[in-house]
Amino acid sequence: MSDYLQSILGGLADGCVYALIALGMSVIYSISRIISLAQGGFVVLAALCAVSLQSGLGISPLATLPIMVVIFSVGMIGVAQIVIQPAAKRATPERLLLVTVGMLQAVGGLLLIGWGNLPYTMPAFTGDAPVKVAGLSLPTQYFWLAGALAVSVLGLWLLLTKTDIGLAMRATASNPGAAALQGIRVDRMRLIAFGLAGAMAALAGTTIVPITFLQFTTVTPYAVAGFIAAVVGGLGSNMGAVTGGLLLGLLQGVFGRYWNADLAQLTAIALLVAVLVIRPQGIFGTPERVRR
């Protein structure tokens, strides 16, 4: 029984990262209708930057977290300004998708040049000794991962429902044209969405890297996992992104333990295709014009 629970918890830990990637994609999508496949790449970039920061400056792993969050939210606003804004003005949705594929590829390339093809890790935030709860042995980093996800979800909810910016963002999400007529600067909302996604990438990357090894090749698996989670959950639905991510992690944890991790991937794809064909708006997505 505890064995079973352990697999579930391990899966959920990975699921937290997928959920954060999917949440970032979802925020970007709801504001700008752009599916950013690069989100998974930024998670690995943030992780390796944190590792270098930690070993280079000799600061504690936990201290890298706020630094990376600030750098990545500002950095992503810059990326959006330089790359996304010009593309969004000119390109069709399909070409925009390829622009984000280009970003993913470029991030992977940057990692290869900057960090080589070696895997990296760093010490846990609060020591390596696990916490024993009811026969389960839990790495303390699991709590940080769950915390990162909880803070992101809560923070996003507060921002969207309790602030003026949030109101403007929701208006933009539901109808960009009408929002622009109301005097909302849609371009600026888009930058804010990318900034939020950058912060989430930094949270995910910095918190996961202490319990694993990441390298430039990890970029594609993360991008793919985040994309599956976001689409299955329903693009643009934050609730759906979190559920999709946790579900995918759970699936991989349980399948990886009892059968084969590749089967988990296949099941997830089958689910993805089924969702796309039967319910293209995703499990939690609101129906919109997705069919011709």
Binding site: A91, E94, Q105, A106, G108, I113, V231, N260, L266, V277
Partner: protein, 333 residues
Amino acid sequence: MTVAQIAPVRVSAATGRTWLGLAVGALAALALPYLIPTQMSLLVTVGIFYLACIGLTPLIGQAGQVSLGQTLFMAIGAYGAGLLTLKWQWPTALAAVVLALFCGGLALIFGAAFLRLRGYYFALATLGLAVATAALSTAWISVTGGPSGMVDIPSLSLFGYEVFSDQANFYLLVVLGGIAAWITTNLRTSQTGRALAAVGHDSVAAGMLGINASRYKAVAFAISAMTASLAGSLYAFYLRFFSPEIITVTVAFSIVIMVAIGGSRSAFGPLIGALVIQGVPQMGQTFATWVPLFAGLVLIVVMTYFPGGLWGAIGDAVGALRRPAPSHAKEQR
């Protein structure tokens, strides 16, 4: 209607030049193995990826649908060729043709399901196919050989002649690539092509004109699947080996990158794309390290500013130099 009026006037001059261009191209292809004998394996790889790319051009360039699933059909073409020839002793050429037809049919079925979806949902669904391909080729060990791959696949045999050497493979690919280029170019300029372009431009309006959008797109998707399957079979016959590393999700991305960088509205675009993406890493370790970053940045720039790809951009630049007619440049979009 101006198009119809202008076109016939230019056609006679154009066909003359076309034939000259083709003749020069054929001569260059014949001479290449003697000019650069040490780069033949690169040219064969470029040829194989060209085949995988060229079939995508009607779908991407005309119908405006991005398929990220070419590796699925390459995998079926490759593993299928291995299985049919090794287990059931099928003739190699027959296996390649049957698999290409099978992939075309499979694409029609997938297309019927996916192409009803709006915009990039199709791209996402095909990305799903690419991920499934990578997982399945690793996990389905009894069929694919799993991570260690499928070994001892025979070379292609055509009319009793074994296509083994780089040179033989290259000439075969020049012929097949030429045929595929001819078919896709005709498709673009034919009624189907114009229907596709209309669908790509505005499918609702095209629907009102009586064009069945999904059907045209499904045909374009089937064509892409058939060339990909053929490319996969030829790759397997050439390498005499196949493994999951050859058809990862990254490869699925890079095929689309080749088409997008080169340009999806001409038969030469994908050739440029395949040459750049396959050729540059061969120039040395430093180049190999920089290629992913370089390819990513080029893709961003091309997708943002040059919808016609590098080939389209060159064409525009040459056109602008020859004939300063700014109004045409806008129409090109």
